[in-house]
Structure formats: structure tokens, C-alpha cells
């Protein structure tokens, strides 16, 4: 069973990886993420450019736990300027988390802030994850990025990024992940290597349709 979930995660494609939490009105986004804590698949539909609703599956790879939830993303504020865009989102979810023997309610919530030009990228997000007795997490995520070249619409885009995860209540408090973000057309791929004790491979894939 676990193998099937992992296969789905790897074959398709989540959510906490990219601040594109809300798409265009009527748009659907499929996101996959693999990092040292979660393997996840998140599919969401944006009813407007202000909010999206979706299903999120997560496999907590170090704890052997599974989570299923409905996630709502709200765009609280967006500033579109000539040379930059900045966003503020709130993301919340409600569902179930289970092991082979135990099932518990799951609640999580967090905010995400980003600022981006064509050359530079900076973001902060956090997540408060409560799975009753099974698993809890507080995550602060900081990201910085630079584009080595400025590409136009339709070109192949490359970003060099650095991610720092601060998990104050978990085993590994600080995880640094350098990665590269590549995107073309409606596909985005992030590939990196986490400087962590285990599960170092970092992969995110996003498909917007």
C-alpha cells in the first residue's frame, strides 16, 4: 500500500513547495513534493484568483504515517507593480492522519509571504501542523533566489535557490537545502539536496492546467 502511495507521489505531482497557492479563475494545479519529512501530492482548483480548494495527500516518510486533508488557500493581499509582485496567503487544512493501527484528526494552518522581481525572489512561510498524538510540526521556511539570466515569456527559466527550514519542535531543527528551480510553459521543477541526516533528495513538481 505504501509503495502505491509513493509511486503516485513520484509519478504525479505539492503544495508547500511553491507560493503559487492560488491559480487563475477556473485553473487547476497539481503539485508534488518530496523532502526529508513529507512526500505529498496536492491537487487544487481555483474558483477565483483569490482562493483555491483542494485535496492533499501526505506520507510522513520518517514516521510511516499517512495524511489526507482538504486544503483551502486564500490570497489575502497581492501587489502588482511594474517591476515586482508581492503576495500574502493563508493556507489551512482539515483531515485525518493515520498509522497502521491508529487514526487521528489532523489540522494545519500557515501563512506565506513572497516578493519577486525578474531577478530576485524571497519568501517566508510557516506551517502549524497538529495530528493529535501521532505527529505535530511547527515549520518556518525561508527562501532566497536569484535568476542567473533574465528570460522572456516562453523561454526556459532557471533560478538558483536556497531554502532554510526551521522546525523548533522536531528532531532536526535546522535544514538547509540548496536547489535549482526550472520552469518552462506550465511545468515547474525544483531539484535540490537537503543538508539533513536522512532523505536528502528534494524534488518538487508543479503542473498548472
Amino acid at each position: 500500500m505504501r509503495f502505491i502511495f509513493l509511486l503516485i507521489t513520484l509519478l504525479f505531482s505539492s503544495g508547500y513547495c511553491f507560493a503559487s497557492a492560488v491559480s487563475y479563475a477556473g485553473g487547476t494545479t497539481l503539485m508534488q513534493s518530496h523532502n526529508n519529512i513529507f512526500d505529498s501530492v496536492h491537487l487544487h482548483y481555483s474558483a477565483s484568483s483569490k482562493y483555491s480548494l483542494g485535496y492533499r495527500f501526505e506520507y510522513l516518510n520518517q514516521k510511516n504515517l499517512f495524511a489526507h486533508s482538504m486544503q483551502v488557500n486564500n490570497l489575502i493581499f497581492r501587489k502588482n507593480a511594474k517591476n515586482y509582485q508581492t503576495n500574502f496567503y493563508i493556507k489551512s487544512g482539515l483531515g485525518l492522519i493515520h498509522s497502521d493501527t491508529q487514526i487521528e484528526p489532523l489540522l494545519y494552518s500557515g501563512l506565506a509571504l513572497d516578493w519577486e522581481t525578474r531577478r530576485f525572489y524571497a519568501s517566508y512561510s510557516n506551517r502549524f501542523y497538529w495530528g493529535h498524538d501521532l505527529f505535530s510540526l511547527i515549520n518556518n521556511r525561508y527562501r532566497l533566489g536569484i535568476a542567473p539570466y533574465i528570460a522572456n515569456f516562453g523561454d526556459f527559466h532557471t533560478w538558483l535557490m536556497l531554502q532554510i527550514d526551521h522546525n523548533p519542535i522536531n528532531d532536526e531543527e535546522l535544514i538547509v537545502t540548496p536547489f535549482v528551480r526550472l520552469f518552462v510553459s506550465n511545468y515547474l521543477l525544483e531539484l535540490g539536496y537537503s543538508l539533513s541526516e536522512s532523505n536528502n533528495v528534494f524534488v518538487n513538481f508543479v503542473w498548472k492546467f
Binding site: 477565483s48 484568483s49 511594474k82 517591476n83 515586482y84 515547474l188
Partner: protein
């Protein structure tokens, strides 16, 4: 003669002002195409929303986006048009703002 001179002076005086005004218009309608200046175009992946939104419209043949000038060009099907109010709404639906 005096009348013509007055007209000419007035024309010359107001010409730069009108030209500036025309340049500042962020939505420009032409035959079979519309040009818009968009704010917030910094990321190709996000700007795909504009393509998706406009391509769903029956009036639209294709779009072109220049991120260097923030210029969105909408090519229209024959004898079709989209009014400014709807253009503003469609750009907003895509997550952006008309300049």
C-alpha cells in the same frame, strides 16, 4: 489669417499633451488586436494564467506577452472585440492588474 495662426499655435501647444496622453493609455484597440500594459509580470510560470484565461475567450485567436515591456498583445478573430471593462476583469481573473 489671424484665425489660422491662432489655430496653428493652439494645435502646436496641445500636440505634445495629446501625444503623451495617447502613450499613457494602457489599453489600445487596433483592428484585430488589442495591446495592454500589465502590472506584476515578473514570472513566466505565473503569467501563464493570462494565456490560459484569454485563450478561453471565443474572441481570442492567440496572445503574445513581452515581459521586458509588460505588454500583452491579444490577437482577435475577425470582426470580434472585447470591451475595456471585460479586459480589466479578465486580467484580474488571471491574477494581474492593467496598468
Amino acid at each position: 489669417m489671424k484665425k489660422y495662426l491662432c489655430c496653428l499655435i493652439c494645435f502646436l501647444l496641445f500636440l505634445p499633451l495629446s501625444a503623451e496622453k495617447i502613450q499613457k493609455l494602457s489599453i489600445r484597440h487596433f483592428e484585430n488586436k488589442i495591446e495592454l500594459n500589465i502590472l506584476g509580470i515578473v514570472c513566466d510560470f505565473c503569467a501563464r494564467s493570462l494565456e490560459k484565461t484569454f485563450k478561453k475567450q471565443k474572441e481570442v485567436k492567440k496572445i503574445e506577452l513581452d515581459m521586458n515591456t509588460n505588454l500583452l498583445t491579444i490577437y482577435l478573430k475577425k470582426d470580434m472585440n472585447i470591451d475595456d471593462k471585460r479586459l480589466h476583469k479578465l486580467v484580474k481573473d488571471a491574477g494581474f492588474t492593467v496598468e
